[in-house]
């Protein structure tokens, strides 16, 4: 309990319990003279040229993640994880710039909640890879499981193979690139961000999407509720070309064949619609 008291004391000393909020503006303003750097104030200062390895044999997920943290604390900017053995919840919660190479496959929830690192995975990944990812890049050389990039908020999430169902469910930003096919209900309840599928898409693509864009290079089994075709603009083509080229996924025939799916926005403010209006949408 001593720790709790210390924390409580710290927050009181900082005035967080005596702040008078009524009668004053709640707006937060930018300070143009702010001298912020490129990383969070409490992140580790790492050097990409400093490299280390972690052998995951006989280590559990917690030990591996603590090993990663220790490596960053010691300034290692490039970390190679060997023998990950498809263990779950590896490389989660990294809020730092880091070059992370995973030689093998990951289990469930790999690389979740990360903000900044560049990750390359030579094998496959299980369910919910990169869930809630905030920033950075993840490149998976083989296939991925279901709910790939669930609730993604930012960054580039790339799978060079095929992915399971509900890819990008509830995504709120960022980019998902799939070199192969994606399963049913991809982009379900998507709120913003971009998804690019070079192969085919399964049933109910973009079901109940609120906003965002889905590009599909192959066939679409069918569209979900309120997902509608959109017009591909020159800016879209330029962005697609640049992004796919970045990850060696640009098809030989270019991007002109890609279809664009957007939200019809008929479901916005759904609770306030009249019953007859709801029927029209559903």
């Amino acid at each position: 309990m001593a720790g709790v008291n210390e924390q409580s004391s710290a927050s009181h000393e900082m005035g967080m319990h005596t702040e008078q909020l009524s009668g004053r503006s709640q707006q937060t303003f930018f300070d143009l003279d702010e001298e912020g750097g490129f990383t969070y104030t409490d992140s580790f200062d790492v050097d990409y040229n400093k490299r280390t390895e972690i052998d995951c044999n006989n280590l559990d997920a917690k030990q591996i993640n603590l090993g990663l943290r220790d490596a960053m604390a010691n300034g290692y900017g490039t970390v190679v994880i060997k023998n990950p053995g498809a263990k779950h919840s590896i490389a989660v919660g990294i809020l730092n710039r880091l070059n992370l190479i995973i030689e093998g496959s990951l289990g469930y929830f790999g690389c979740g909640l990360i903000d900044g690192p560049n990750v390359r995975i030579t094998g496959r990944v299980g369910w919910s890879c990169a869930e809630n990812m905030m920033a950075g890049t993840i490149v998976i050389e083989k296939n991925a499981g279901s709910t790939f990039g669930a609730a993604l908020r930012g960054g580039d999430l790339v799978c060079k193979g095929s992915v399971g169902s509900r890819t990008g469910i509830d995504m709120k930003g960022g980019t998902i690139l799939v070199g192969g096919d994606t399963g049913a209900f991809s982009g379900f309840m998507m709120q913003r961000g971009r998804m690019v599928v070079c192969g085919n898409a399964g049933k109910n693509l973009g079901d109940s999407m609120y906003d965002g864009i889905i590009f599909v290079g192959g066939e679409i089994k069918d569209l979900g509720i309120d997902a509608v075709p959109g017009e591909v603009t020159d800016l879209d083509r330029a962005w697609l070309t640049r992004k796919l080229k970045m990850y060696d996924l640009l098809p030989a025939k270019g991007v002109d064949h890609f279809k664009k799916i957007v939200a019809g926005k008929q479901l916005w403010n759904y609770d306030n619609l009249e019953p007859t209006e709801k029927k029209l949408i559903l």
């Binding site: 912020g36 490129f38 710039r97 920033a135 930012g154 913003r192 403010n269």
Partner: protein, 136 residues
Amino acid sequence: MAGTSYKGSQITDVDQFIKGGGIESDREKEIGQHIGYRYDVNLLPDYERLTPFLKAYMEHMGWDDLNWLEDTHMGYEEGRPAVFDRNINGWVTIPEDMALPDNQQDRDMIARELLIKFQMSPNHPLAQLNKAYRKF
């Protein structure tokens, strides 16, 4: 329709939500707040307009493009230009005396630069909360 009629693609003037104050449709007037985004969330960045600060940031992070900042735009809250900070789940307002360019792409680049400086500052609300409450 009782729902929103506003769509990002209907923005015709870069100052639309500064001039209009933000509450426009009958439904918005009824509930006293705007519905939907105040900017086109799907607008892709024009990389010809990158600022030197953003180029340096991309290089520092080891990224070939703006990465998560592709989703950052200058929006408008209560009739004032502002940027949404996902880390505090709130809008951060641009100072009134700051001159804004006349196009959305340049405004978005400014928004990205300001947001990074704000988030990485020791004065950011999360840095303060972290200092006061972190457990380990």
